[in-house]
Symmetry: C2
Subunit: 206 residues, 2 copies
C-alpha cells in the first residue's frame, strides 16, 4: 500500500515502520532484515522508510531506541591514530553509559542475554556498524577476531560496572577505567595475537 | 527444631536446608548469609548443616547447583607460579564451560544479569571464593581492583562465546582463547595499572 510520502497520516506510518522494523530485526537479525521487507510489513513504500530514517542503520538505531548512534563516535576515536586508541574507546564507551541517556542501556544488556533474537541482532549491528568500522579503519589483520575480543572486554566491563556493581570498577571514573582497561583493548587492536590454528600450543595445557 | 543428626528424615532436612540456603543467599548475599540463619529457617540444628555440607562455601556450591566448585581449580592454576597464570586461567575457565556439566552455566549468566539478588550473591561468591583466592595467593597490590578487572574479561568472554556466539570466539579452542586472552588477564594480575586516583590523566581526554 504505497503512500504519497506527504504529511497526512505520516506519524501513523512512522510508528508502523518502527514496529515492523523491530519485528524484522528480532526475527531476521540485523544483516538479513531488509528495508523492502520492513516496508512491506508496514504496508508503506520503501522510499518512505528511507525518507523517514535515511538508512537501515539509522532505522535500527531508532527502532532499538538506542540513546545515541554508536557509529557517530568512531571518527573522533580513530582520527588521532592508533596510539591510545584503546584508552579513547574505553573513555567514550563509559562516558556514554554514564550519561543520562545511557541509563537504559542496562535493559539492552538484559535483553541481549535473555533473548536469542536480541543477541543476534545486537551482535550483528555492534560487530558491523561499530567495532567493524573501527577495526577496518586500522587496516590490520584478523579484523573479526580483534573486534570480537574487544567486544568481550567492553561487554564484560559494562556488566561488571552496571549490573554486578563490582568494586572498584563500579565507582571508578572513566579516566581510571581508561587507564586500567585501555591497554588491554590496545593489545586486541594491534598486537600479534598468534596464529588462528596454534597446533603447537595445543597440548601444552592439560 | 534440632534433629538427632542420624538417618531417618535426613533427606527431607537436606532439601529444607537447600531451600533455606537459596532463599538466604538471594536475600542476604553470600557474605551476609549465615549458616545459623539458614539452619533456623530450615528448622534444623546448625551442626546438621555443617554435617551435610561442610561449610557455607560448599553449601553455596550445592544450593546454586554449580556443576563444579570453582575454588577446586585454584591450586593447579596458581601452583606453577605467576608466569602463564592468565593463560592457565583462561584454559581452565573455558574447559569447564565447554564440558557437559558447564552447559547450564548459561542459565547462571542469565539469572545474574536479570536478578539483582542473583547478581549480588554470585558477585560476592566469585570475588571472594574464586578470584580473591587467586589474587591473594599472588601477594600483590590492589587485589580487589585486579580481581574485578579479571572478572570483567572472563564474564564478557563467556557472554560473547556462549550467549552472543560471536565468531571467531564462539568456535575457538580453549588453547586459542588462552593465547588470545591470557596475556590480557596476565596484565590485570601483575602489571602496574596506574594509581587509583589519576588526577593527572583526568582532563587529558575530552
Amino acid at each position: 500500500m504505497p503512500r504519497s510520502g506527504r504529511r497526512p497520516g505520516q506519524s501513523g506510518s512512522r510508528e508502523k515502520i518502527i514496529a515492523a522494523a523491530r519485528s524484522h530485526f528480532a526475527k531476521d537479525g540485523y544483516d538479513h532484515a531488509t528495508v523492502r521487507a520492513i516496508a512491506t510489513t508496514a504496508r508503506v513504500d520503501p522510499a518512505l522508510v528511507l525518507h523517514f530514517f535515511g538508512s537501515k542503520h539509522d532505522l535500527f538505531v531508532a527502532a532499538m531506541e538506542l540513546p545515541f548512534d554508536p557509529s557517530k563516535f568512531i571518527p573522533e576515536i580513530v582520527a588521532p591514530g592508533v596510539d591510545g586508541l584503546g584508552e579513547r574507546l574505553v573513555r567514550r564507551f563509559i562516558g556514554v553509559w554514564d550519561s543520562r541517556e545511557g541509563r537504559h542501556l542496562v535493559g539492552l544488556i538484559r535483553s541481549v542475554v535473555s533473548h536469542e533474537g536480541a543477541a543476534k541482532m545486537m551482535r550483528e549491528f555492534f560487530t558491523h556498524a561499530v567495532l567493524g568500522k573501527i577495526v577496518s579503519s586500522l587496516d590490520i589483520s584478523d579484523p573479526e577476531r580483534r573486534a570480537s575480543l574487544v567486544a568481550s572486554q567492553l561487554f564484560g566491563l559494562a556488566v561488571v560496572r552496571y549490573v554486578m556493581k563490582l568494586e572498584p570498577i563500579a565507582s571508578a571514573t572513566p579516566d581510571e577505567l581508561a587507564t586500567w582497561v585501555g591497554p588491554n583493548l590496545q593489545r586486541y587492536f594491534t598486537a600479534d595475537l598468534g596464529t588462528l590454528a596454534p597446533q603447537v600450543v595445543r597440548g601444552s595445557g592439560r
